[in-house]
Amino acid sequence: MTDPTTGVPSPTAAGAGAAGAPAADEGHLVLRDLVKTYPGRHGAAVRGVSLSVPRGAMLAVLGPSGCGKSTTLRMIAGLVAPSAGSVLVDGKDVTGTPAHHRDMGVVFQSYALFPHMDVAGNVAFGLEMRKVPRPERERRVTEALELVRLDHLARRRVSQLSGGQQQRVALARALVVRPTVLLLDEPLSNLDAQLRTTMREEIRRIQQETGITTVFVTHDQHEALSMADRVAVLHEGRLEQLGTPQEIYERPASRFTAEFVGRANLLPATVVAAASAGEAAAAEVEVPGIGRITAQGASPAPGEPVTVLLRPHRVVLDAHDPDGGIARGTVLTAGYTGETVAYRVRVGGSGPELDVELPSGSHRPSAPGAEVGVSWQQGAARLVPAAPRSGGDAEAADGGGPAGDRDPRGGAA
């Protein structure tokens, strides 16, 4: 179930809202050029999102608040009517189908339980709507509550439940009707950190047990990377990238994705020569202050500006041999965080500053002012498509283009 889902041929095309990629049509749930504009508001909330979710897969829609991810989910559920575009389930266009005929299970951020019903009453509601006869209804309610491990609380009032228990009731209520698609809106954001980890595994277990096609919306990259088969990164109403968690993290297709998912050093560079093409494409690039390095990824023609991504944990510092690395650097700050030591290092005399993260205990910590050799493994440096997408994007504007970017630090918020 890999290939059809990578769906969008190139992120640039997807970002520009290219008419539904042909491969996308094979998915169980397909969005085609979904657009939502609100009257009286400047710009669209969702500006042409096309993607596809294969049957039984779990897709995370990841993005900062206001990126349009919740609106997208509500359009899938039929709670918001799209201004343009369509939603397809099993190849059938359901864009005009009202929410109560869509057969989708939705779990809301606030859980949205029915306060005047007990736990079993909440779970039974969807079955009553489907006129399931009482004996079967009771059996399925019990099954659904067993699935979320709440069968002992069936007669409890929902106001007497903890946040995690309410969350499970909401999940059982959505699943009991055996919906074609399960939609989760920030399902874990109201839980405390420990419970969140448990529920993350729990939701993943239930999703795999039931094999239901699932879309969940989150602003938490850890949640997205650890739970989903596919991640769709949304930014300002556009799809930035759609791929597996590994692809999103290791081969980000844009500056935004590189910075939003994980921590990143982004260095402006110029292409010197393409080293190879195809799958293992790489290029030799000139990074001001560092020199010529090899970076993975497809590159534009020699002389063109590009951005090089270097994840902080993939950089190595050597205090014993400052000249033995790829470049010589000076430690500016060092911060002990327990599991790691976070350094900020200036490369060369006036070169770029790098964030570096080393596992604590693996090395003798360097103090600020120390001279170190900076190096990284072959393949750690990665080219990020540098050209701004179709005009007016915030990132394209704020750095004045990567080539002119004086401060290459990538500290993602």
């Binding site: 709670l79 057969d103 949205a112 509601f125 009707v177």
Partner: protein
């Protein structure tokens, strides 16, 4: 507030005095209603239940009580039947000018009742709706619907619209969502709105004076007409009955549904 024992006693004393001030007229009426005189006086000198017997022996009062009970019941029912959908529309249906509409719904409360009464008289006289149940009920609806809309809107503001969306995604159409999800959630507001409408209508004097007549005379108007010519403890006894009715209604709602809560959130 931080006070010593003496300070606390002073605060309590203040509250007791205020409370007595508010209750004094009712206490006077209660005491007078048991007097055996044929005129109103205070303090009373005898004790009898004759006044209460007189109230229920008086044909004018009996028919007035009936008129008021029928009027208040129908008014409360119609106010709820029209006010609840109006509150739903105001709280859940997005449309242009919704806020203006919401304040428009409360505006009858700002018009002095005497003006409203006069206006209704001018409007009703030629139709003719004066001195009819229909006219009386229509007039009372005008002042009770805003209260129902208000209490129901307050209840709706406390209900999670996401729960209604959840019901929709589970297969409930608009009508089912209203019946199975919204109504049970706002029931306290609906009932207290209805009870308030009933009490307001039962109590309404000024507007009723304008639109009622010889045939359909609600209780407050009958009382006014009675005291114009006579003043005996029967009026006091009747007043006590009215107070008891109000108190019973309010206590009932308070106990069973939490009137205080639904009013406080309004």
């Amino acid at each position: 507030m931080r006070t010593g024992p003496a300070g606390r006693a002073a605060w309590v004393a203040l509250l007791v005095v205020l409370y007595l001030f508010l209750l004094a007229p009712i206490i006077v009426v209660l005491v007078v209603s048991f007097d055996d005189a044929t005129f109103l006086r205070f303090p009373p000198e005898g004790f009898t239940l004759d006044a209460y017997r007189q109230v229920f022996a008086n044909d004018d009062f009996r028919s007035a009580i009936q008129v008021s009970a029928v009027t208040a019941s129908i008014t409360a029912l119609l106010a709820v039947v029209t006010g609840v959908p109006a509150a739903l529309a105001l709280s859940r249906v997005p449309f242009r000018g919704r806020e203006a509409m919401e304040s428009a719904f409360l505006s009858p409360l700002l018009v002095p009742n005497i003006v409203l009464g006069l206006a209704l008289l001018v409007l009703f006289a030629p139709i003719p709706l004066t001195d009819t149940y229909t006219g009386l009920i229509l007039a009372h609806l005008g002042i009770t619907i805003p209260y129902v809309v208000r209490t129901v809107c307050a209840s709706l503001a406390g209900a999670d619209p996401r729960a209604e969306e959840a019901a929709r995604t589970l297969g409930a159409d608009t009508f089912t969502v209203a019946r199975r999800i919204i109504l049970p959630t706002i029931l306290p507001g609906v009932v207290s709105g209805g009870v308030i409408a009933f009490l307001l209508s039962f109590d309404e004097t000024v507007i009723s004076l304008f639109v009622s007549g010889q045939n359909v005379t609600p209780l407050p108007v009958a009382v006014l007409q009675y005291v114009e010519y006579r003043s005996d403890p029967a009026v006091a006894a009747l007043s006590v009955c009215l107070v008891v009715l109000s108190v019973v209604a309010v206590v009932f709602v308070e106990r069973s549904l939490g009137l205080r809560r639904s009013l406080r959130s309004g």
